[in-house]
Symmetry: C2
Subunit: 408 residues, 2 copies
């Protein structure tokens, strides 16, 4: 496995010091490392033949537009077909294409939201744990993070209500809550319908926005309810973000935000000074992909591929992890989240794990309250089934060794 093309390094640079990474890479250089630290789709999931043909066609037929500058808000035709796609696949009825802005992947959606909505000191509510790259994108604007715990039914809306009351009493401005309701990254849990409805009620009562990150809404392998929070939104409080990275190809850098028009106006102005617009070629390719139903045709195969890999990892963890460990059983997505016995510090353990040939992402940086020292995020989408088995075996053995050394 070539680590350069893995998100291994970039995932680690999100929270490690440069010197720590260099130390880690020294260990990596000489040997083959099984990386469970990445967040990459399986390249076998890409509809390569279809995309090669489509790319050629759109350049030949629409080249004068597909290679030209495009509107900042996104190619008009793309937003039109996208409206149909989100209606069909996610039940979301977008009132007009002006409520959609195309972004250069979800990362840019988060950056735009951060730059336009957060004033220093604003309260931003995030889950415990929350998606690391979102935390980092928001952090730039220096908000006050308030963490809300999760359980198997997702966001603890009861604790959220307590925190909201407290913030209100303290006269703090709550800007938004950021949530990954379906197949949460990293926690692997899915929010129940009841909690989604309650969340909307609380947003009304306490007057804040909800940023719904639907990254895995279409990447669910089990029969569970996947209704987006956006469907319960009556007053335009939900800013819905999604992307084509996990259901088509991350390399095209295609994401989008659906929100009230005046908000999208603001996002558009920000994006204009960020990159003018998202790749026209990517957008024209996506138009044809949606017209031809490539994603709908491809998705069942991808879901099956990931379901199998998830099961291989779950079985391996069951077999190898020490007593006292806990882990998520995600209905979709790319990750399993694990709690080792409390004695383990997964951050400190990482160099040892890499030395033994396996990498993971320590869970602590995902917790804005500094907890989670005994957690780790494990990726099952990219490594082969064999590597998943071997990687988890190495990790389980190391965890057991570590525990026995400490309590001999």
């Amino acid at each position: 496995m070539k680590l350069k093309y893995d998100k291994f390094l970039s995932n680690l640079t999100q929270f490690m010091k440069a010197s720590e990474i260099r130390e880690l890479l020294k260990l990596v250089e000489k040997k083959r490392i099984i990386s469970l630290a990445g967040g990459l789709p399986d390249p076998n999931s890409f509809p390569i033949e279809e995309l090669a043909k489509i790319a050629q066609e759109v350049i030949e037929v629409y080249g004068k537009k597909a290679l030209q500058y495009a509107p900042t808000r996104g190619v008009t035709m793309f937003r039109e077909v996208l409206m149909g796609f989100v209606a069909k696949t996610r039940g979301i009825k977008v009132p007009s294409i002006e409520s959609i802005i195309i972004t250069s992947g979800s990362q840019q959606s988060l950056d735009i939201i951060s730059r336009t909505l957060i004033d220093p000191g604003d309260v931003v509510l995030v889950e415990l744990p929350s998606y690391l790259a979102a935390i980092n994108a928001f952090k730039i604007q220096r908000p006050e993070f308030v963490g809300i715990p999760l359980d198997n039914n997702g966001l603890r809306v009861d604790i959220l209500e307590e925190k909201l009351k407290k913030a209100k009493e303290e006269g703090k401005k709550i800007k938004f809550l950021y949530t990954v309701p379906i197949a949460h990254n990293p926690a692997g849990v899915t929010m129940s319908i009841e909690r989604k409805k309650r969340l909307i009620e609380l947003a009304e009562e306490y007057d804040f926005l909800i940023v719904e990150d639907d990254v895995y809404g279409l990447l669910v392998f089990e029969k569970v309810d996947t209704t987006p929070i956006k469907l319960f939104d009556k007053s335009g409080r939900v800013i819905y973000i999604a992307s084509f990275s996990k259901i088509l190809s991350p390399g095209l850098r295609l994401g989008y935000i659906i929100a009230e028009e005046p908000l999208v106006d603001v996002f558009e102005r920000a994006k204009q000074s960020m990159d003018l617009h998202t790749s026209s070629l990517s957008q024209f390719i996506a138009i044809e992909v949606l017209r031809k139903g490539v994603i709908e045709k491809n998705l069942p195969r991808v879901r099956e591929m990931y379901r199998k890999k998830r099961d291989v990892m779950l079985d391996a963890i069951e077999e190898n992890f020490p007593e006292g460990s806990l882990w998520s059983r995600p209905v979709g997505g790319l990750f399993i989240f694990a709690w080792t016995p409390k004695e383990i510090d997964t951050y400190k353990l990482l160099p040892k794990a890499v030395e033994k040939g396996v990498a993971y992402v320590p869970g602590k940086p995902f917790f804005v309250d500094g907890s989670g020292t005994n957690t780790m995020r494990l990726n099952f989408s990219y490594p082969t089934e064999d590597d998943i088995k071997k990687g988890i075996e190495i990790l389980g053995k190391l965890l057991k060794e570590e525990l026995s050394t400490r309590y001999p």
Copy 2:
């Protein structure tokens, strides 16, 4: 001409109020407007057939990488072939690929530089006039702009020296000077070799960085010296930015920054939270484009196309503009800059011009000192030769009418 696909609107949104734009668009709706306000390449300049074939090939052959996530700094192979390209075409010897970061177009390069280098209150030196989108990207960080006039030999380094002395006396921190040395946008002038050398000396003496925007370095139609400032840089003060938008296709969103490694490290961290990385597909397409020499083969044709259009516009201005007008004779690029007689306010005149069927960009927003009320930027790359003639004719007539109304 479909204005949606022109940069007409987006160019205007950079400085006009939403209400003003709406008023302007009402005028536009019902009739055909000749837009000299855009900044688009001629779509006939795109090597469409070659790109269609290359896009298909790279997805078929490298699909697993070209559709996957890529390193934030850019695809390694792309940076390698790019090193060869800038050495061959611009004489720039990059010490290693780590001194290059691939960006999503020059706009993102400017945004990255703004976010990482400018602290509020820092002095940022810009030309009078300067590229509007750069001013806007920098403005977000609230610097103090200091404007340096241009003449036919580019930046007035003598006035620069005075301003530097003054800033030093006042104890101000000068962060960088931003310059478009070749075929300046919008002013159309080119910096002489002597001034480039003097600029480097001043940067050493007064300890500031130079951001060299080489957007048109390869789009020059005359036999003039186009040595980049970067070639005189001995201490790593020059941050060199360039892109593929004007020499290949803007729709691919491909730009790059060449700078000292520690600076590029900082840029990389910023880019990570902005969009993770630039489209992998665009980067893989560019690899093959560079390997096959597509740009070198295509450029002579593009230069000739633009040289002709520039000459058509110069002739039309000569013939139609009122006495007392001045205009640039750019050696390259996409624009002519014009000074009308002082009585004219080009910002106020714009709605009238649009009503008569022609649009331009008023020059004032390009001047950080609030001057330039009687200037305008005219694009010759996108409109047809016929439209250039007609557009300038309408504009010239309007200017003359305006002058005679004021002084009947």
